[in-house]
Amino acid sequence: MIATVAIAVIASVWLALSVLNQFKRGHLIARVKRHDALALIPTWTFFAPRPGVTDFNVMYRDCTTSGGFSRWYEMRGERAGRLRAAWNPAKRTGKGITDTCNMLMRLSGHNLGRRIYLQIPYLTLLHYVSTAPRTDVSHMRQFAIVRTTGHDAPRDTTMLFVSALHRL
């Protein structure tokens, strides 16, 4: 009997918090979500109210020992294969990049100053570009987030964010 009541309480509380989280209203759900490291409180508002109709592209360039800059290079992730309806490992990193860029763009609007360099999305992207090949004269590197539209031939290119230069 006690176990059944416990199950009922767990299910009810979990469901109630899930309902509240869909509308993002109130301090309670904001506080609960801050501590929800296991992502147990779901967000079910897929592609709405503002669907993602652009892509984030991560670019990088190097500052050489002589002080010049290389051109911008694109970090090219794995592209989804023909069988992606059943098997799509490429989406794992692709979604990660999109989420990270989204979060960094949100943080960049908070005027964090130099503290932005210590934020996880910034560090994640910096680490990501630091794994790209470098030349003998590469001295420092910076990354940028570029927004594009379009599937095969990206268009409407906008540079949204440029990082500081970081020593390699």
Partner: protein, 263 residues
């Protein structure tokens, strides 16, 4: 349909999602190394317990290579055994859920609604197996059904208040991206904008109204299930969101059970 049959079907279907999801991470394991996009050296800095303290070493053992690959392998093994209905199902569900939650703790980014639905379904199944009586088991499967209903209504409501979904440009916009795009579908929608509008409104109508069929009884629920499978198969084909099909289909046996209670 009995409680046990619904739980078995739900277990089998959600374990397909777990198996494919873990295998996808495993073949992308380079991303989980210290040089990869999901480097634990970077991601751990968001958890104070992973940077200093007694748990630092343990966390590194689990979340760095080869620990993380072993965890994914264990998840796959548990999924296979659960699908084969072999051994203690409760243990396989617990392992699958632990792996799922561990990936949420580790990665923070890159997981989606299908992963969240897996956590919900696996937790509901875990409650089903620990429940001492039929009332507890009904509550556990009812919880999964209620989350499924909520997911469709919440997704539908969020689209209803969105001008991009109402004016019919959302589907065209999403499909015209590299992330979830589809060149052939984009071309069709560009040539016939009315199709984009129809796709937006049929998605909206499906998510807002179709789940109500569950509440009309088993026949209505079967109509919803057929429409839901077609909906998620279409999304997998056009957008590559393959795991949503399995994660959400896993809730359908519980929705059917719910329909027999209310219908």
């Amino acid at each position: 349909v009995s409680l046990d049959t619904a739980a078995e079907l739900t277990t089998t279907i959600v374990m397909v999602a777990v198996l494919v999801g873990a295998a996808e991470f495993l073949v992308s394991r380079a991303a989980l190394t210290s040089d990869g996009f999901y480097s634990w050296h970077v991601l751990r800095t968001q958890h104070s317990w992973a940077v200093r303290g007694r748990l630092t070493g343990r966390a590194a053992q689990v979340f760095e290579q080869p620990g993380i690959s072993l965890l994914l392998g264990a998840q796959m093994g548990a999924a296979v055994l659960a699908i084969a209905q072999s051994g203690p199902i409760f243990v396989w569900i617990a392992i699958a859920l632990a792996g799922n939650l561990a990936m949420h703790v580790r990665n923070t980014y890159g997981l989606d609604g299908s992963d969240q639905m897996q956590s919900v379904v696996l937790s509901g199944l875990l409650l089903f197996h620990v429940a001492p009586d039929d009332t507890g088991r009904k509550i556990a499967l009812g919880f999964i059904a209620a989350q499924a209903m909520l997911s469709y209504f919440a997704a539908g409501y969020a689209k209803l208040i969105s001008s991009m979904w109402r004016d019919g440009s959302a589907v065209m916009g999403v499909l015209d991206t590299k992330s979830y795009g589809n060149a052939a579908a984009t071309e069709i929608l560009r040539r016939w904008p009315a199709v984009s509008k129809a796709a937006c409104w049929s998605t909206l109508a499906f998510e807002c109204l179709m789940p109500l069929l569950v509440l009309t009884g088993p026949t209505g629920c079967l109509v919803f299930i057929v429409a839901g499978l077609a909906f998620h198969a279409g999304i997998a084909l056009t957008m590559g969101l393959n795991l949503f099909f399995w994660s959400f289909a896993a809730t359908y046996p519980c929705l059917y059970l719910l329909s027999t209670w209310v219908g």
